[in-house]
């Protein structure tokens, strides 16, 4: 048995490795080039001195017109350890999502990147600098879990449904714990002068979740 039946007007979701993970039957050989390119770019930015400084979120520089920093700040990192964990999560989630639905992946990437920076701009006025990909990772995670949930519903797969619910509840719980306790659980990678920003994870998750609903709302079914 394959998963679900085609519904008129639906858009195809799921090809290749990700489609196997997410329930689509057909494998695609398409490479997640955007994911690899962004991961590589983050690495290059970190390794070449001076570039990160030009791309990171810097409140005053943005005020002076350097608006690209609102998006590029997510590709910059404070330390090698910070870069490693952020990019590792990005690779795992990016490969899955890009091969499943590239437009959705792009939407989450750009939407969460921009909305996180705007949230920092408006709600954290004391934050003069920001770097890191984890807010975008949170958006990708929410989108992936949304697709997982959708497929579980269609397949009437209770185990997968509970698993997906547990993942998203746990993740949101972790974010709220960070917000309530004003701390980043277990994070110790950015250096002593930098604080964790749970708001970025919250905004990223919210954006990812919203986009997956919008995208899948327009195309509610997975194809055979």
């Amino acid at each position: 048995m394959f998963h679900g039946s085609p519904i008129d007007g639906t858009r195809e979701v799921g090809k290749g490795l990700a489609s196997r993970i997410l329930g689509s039957p057909s494998a695609s050989s398409e490479l997640p080039v955007l994911t690899f390119a962004i991961a590589l770019l983050s690495l290059v930015i970190f390794c070449i001195p001076g570039i990160g400084e030009f791309l990171a979120f810097d409140r005053v520089a943005v005020e002076q017109g350097e608006v690209w920093r609102l998006l590029t700040s997510h590709l910059t990192h404070w330390s090698a350890e910070h870069l490693f964990w952020d990019v590792l999560a990005f690779l795992i989630l990016g490969i899955v999502l890009e091969r499943t639905d590239r437009p959705l992946f792009l939407g989450v990437l750009l939407g969460s990147g921009l909305s996180i920076s705007l949230a920092l701009w408006f709600f954290r006025p004391e934050m003069t600098g920001y770097r890191g990909l984890s807010g975008v990772d949170s958006g990708l995670f929410a989108a992936w879990v949304g697709i997982l949930l959708r497929n579980a519903q269609k397949d009437r797969d209770r185990l997968q449904w509970f698993f997906a619910v547990a993942l998203i509840v746990g993740f949101i719980g972790k974010i709220f714990w960070e917000l309530l306790t004003a701390s980043n659980v277990f994070v110790d990678s950015m250096g002593v002068g930098v604080v964790g920003v749970p708001l970025a994870h919250l905004v990223g998750t919210a954006l990812g979740g919203t986009l997956v609903i919008l995208f899948l709302g327009a195309a509610p079914a997975l194809t055979e």
Partner: protein, 676 residues
């Protein structure tokens, strides 16, 4: 003990004592010291326990250690460790069996003479001296043959909080600056038994995180409540060769403000206070390109620190913007302009400079003056120039007088940022150099989180400073203030002012500063209390701050050195502090009586211990006094990062893996089903 043994024993102690006094100022870093060539086995450190309490703006460090004398005759134990920054050594106790004997601070010459006399007569005695900026040195006599003696000492120091990060350092690593000491002493850094640390951090605002770089596996960190942490480290067979660094992080976005920690025992005498101003102002980044001169010490004394220097500098160069320019100058006996003038901070030029820096080697003496002078060449009047000086500041070649450094610095309009690498560095000279230009200086330990320290420093260097910051108090008669002269305050930096006051009452604090071309005035009102007995240690910290101010004035040539020494001796004796002019003498009660020495320290310590017991049972006090009438409206600036913890990443990876596996299994089942 036979007469002969007694003679040998006294002779041994006499020889040691004579040697020790003749080699005064020639001590080593943490560990027991044995003269090179001595026939005796080194005195052993059986265990070493450090108790740290950080509360109310200052830290109390109590060190208890047990010596064992493996020799067949009684000997003197000599122990030294690097002088911690701004420390005031206030107690020394020797524990012999069930008996404790305590120390009193008197003038140094007198203390040394009495100690020598008592030690030569085989009486129990101890002595603590300060060898300038190099070491505190403790002597205990006698440690009986094949027996143990315990020693305890206590020092206080103001806490440093920068950009919301508290940093505490217990210095142990050899600073490498004491060449003469190395040629005389054989150090024994080994702890045979237990090396343990018990630290307690109390804060009125929540503490978000506590870290001990290098002790991640060994440290047990307990969060008792939001502003109260305990740390415990127990290790067997450690060496006293690595600094203990503790960081604690306060929440970002805390408002700037004023904290007042007063002490006034009665209304008939003046009170003492420590006032900490945390600016909450918006300091803009330096918008246009800036010039940075890196002046690096590559003398022999930097051998243990050159890797830290290269690591830090490589990252610092990497943080420059393409519109910035830089020069790299090194100095030892001679100077070298490694970049041959200004270089634009393009990625290629920066990479080239990093390659050079990573291959630096050390040799020779320290001609600090020539290094700075070379760094001050080729300045461009149209650009903001920052001189980043990385050294241990132990100048021993060329011009070494602090006054000459001050005169040199005052000729140029540069911002000097001094980084004193390792222990036993010349803090007073670094202060003189940086103060002359309104610069900033900080210590860096090999045990520090270099990246974190660098980011804090970078945020100062790349942003505007508050200029001509001046604090005035009206309504209450304050006097003998320290650190109240107009000065620059950099981003994230606090202003710590010590002083005294005559009468209680409401004070109006006015802080004026010049920021981004505008004159700013910040004001608030708060009370100075009639009686405040919770923090008697503030008196010692105030006195130590006065002493440092006097040293700076002598260094700058503004005060005659004899006059300065007398003033330091007076303050040291009055407030029972070990200084270059005073020493702590430990004797039995009856011996103090015999010499007619007042028990001023015994009384002071009793008052402090009572207050400490009270504080231990109380909740944390919030010392902020401008809560109802805030001095600043903006919060303190902060840097943020979107980071994932390894645990979350592993959960995500596991989740994806599980789904993949499950789908594979399902696909397999379905394919099997279809094929059947």
């Amino acid at each position: 003990m036979t007469k002969l043994q007694n003679l040998i024993h006294r002779g041994g102690i006499l020889l040691c004592t004579v040697a020790v006094f003749s080699m005064s100022h020639l001590a080593h870093a943490a560990g027991t010291l044995t003269p090179i060539g001595s026939q005796h086995a080194p005195m052993q450190v059986v265990d070493h326990h450090v108790d740290i309490v950080m509360n109310n703006g200052f830290a109390r460090t109590e060190v208890t250690q047990t010596f064992y004398n493996p020799n067949h005759e009684n000997l003197e134990a000599v122990y030294a460790f690097p002088v911690p920054k701004n420390a005031s050594l206030s107690e020394m106790t020797i524990i012999i069996g069930e008996t404790e004997i305590h120390g009193e601070v008197i003038e140094r010459d007198e203390a040394e003479a009495i100690y020598e006399h008592e030690a030569n007569n085989g009486n129990d005695a101890g002595l603590a001296v300060k060898n300038e900026y190099l070491t505190y040195e403790f002597r205990v006599s006698p440690v009986r043959a094949q027996d143990q003696t315990q020693m305890r000492f206590v020092y206080y120091q103001p806490l440093e909080i920068d950009t919301g990060i508290g940093r505490y350092v217990y210095p142990l690593e050899d600073g490498g600056t004491d060449d003469a000491g190395k040629s005389f002493w054989l150090p024994n850094e080994e702890v045979k038994g237990t090396f343990s640390i018990a630290a307690e951090i109390k804060s009125a605002v929540p503490i978000e995180d506590v870290r001990m770089p290098g002790y991640e596996q060994a440290a047990l960190i307990d969060r008792l409540d939001a502003g109260h942490y305990q740390i415990r480290v127990d290790q067997a067979g450690n060496a006293l060769s690595r600094d203990v660094v503790i960081y604690y992080r306060l929440p970002d976005g805390l408002p700037g403000g004023v904290e007042l920690i007063p002490y006034r025992a009665s209304d008939s005498e003046p009170g003492t206070f420590m006032m900490v101003v945390t600016p909450g102002v918006d300091l803009a980044p330096l918008a246009n390109g800036s010039d940075y001169v890196f002046v690096l010490d590559v003398s022999g004394s930097m051998s243990g620190k050159i890797a830290t220097l290269a690591r830090g500098l490589s990252r610092a160069l990497g943080e420059l913007r393409p519109e910035d320019r830089f020069r790299v100058v090194t100095f030892s006996n001679h100077t070298k302009d490694l970049t041959h003038g200004w270089r634009q901070a393009t990625p290629d030029e920066v990479q080239g400079a990093i390659a050079i820096v990573e291959n630096l080697s050390v040799e020779g003496g320290t001609n600090l003056y020539a290094g700075i002078r070379e760094g001050l060449e080729k300045l461009d009047d149209d650009r903001v120039t920052s001189l980043i000086l990385v050294t241990d500041a132990v100048a021993n070649q060329g011009i070494i007088e602090p006054k000459a450094f001050r005169e040199l610095m005052r000729q140029y309009d540069v911002r000097v940022f001094g980084f004193l690498l390792g222990n036993s560095g010349n803090w007073p000279l670094m202060r003189t150099i940086c103060d002359a230009t309104g610069g900033f200086y900080a210590g860096v330990s090999n045990a520090d989180d270099i990246m974190g320290q660098l980011m804090l420093a970078k945020s100062k260097i790349t942003h505007e400073a508050m200029h001509d910051v001046s604090v005035r108090l009206k309504g209450v008669d304050t006097f003998d203030l320290t650190n109240d002269m107009p000065k620059k305050v950099y981003r994230g930096e606090q202003l710590v002012i010590f002083g005294r006051y005559d009468e209680a009452g409401k004070a109006k604090l006015s802080l004026t500063a010049h920021i981004s071309g505008e004159d700013k005035l910040y004001e608030t009102n708060f009370d100075f209390p009639e009686i405040a007995t919770d923090n008697p240690e503030i008196e010692r910290l105030w006195a130590m701050s006065q002493i440092e101010q006097i040293e700076d004035q002598v260094n700058a040539g503004l005060l005659d050195s004899t006059e300065g020494s007398d003033a330091i001796a007076d303050l040291g004796v009055a407030y029972q502090l070990v200084t270059d002019e005073t020493a702590m003498l430990v004797l039995r009660d009856e011996d103090f009586e015999r010499y007619g020495i007042d028990r001023a320290n015994r009384d002071r310590v009793a008052t402090e211990n009572q207050a400490q017991a009270r504080r231990a049972s109380q909740t944390v006090t919030n010392n902020r006094v401008d809560r109802n009438d805030p001095l600043f409206n903006l919060p303190t600036p902060s840097l943020g990062g979107g980071a994932l913890d390894p645990f979350s990443v592993l959960i995500v990876a596991g989740g994806v893996g599980l789904c993949l596996r499950r789908r594979k299994d399902q696909s397999g089942d379905e394919e099997g089903h279809v094929s059947r």
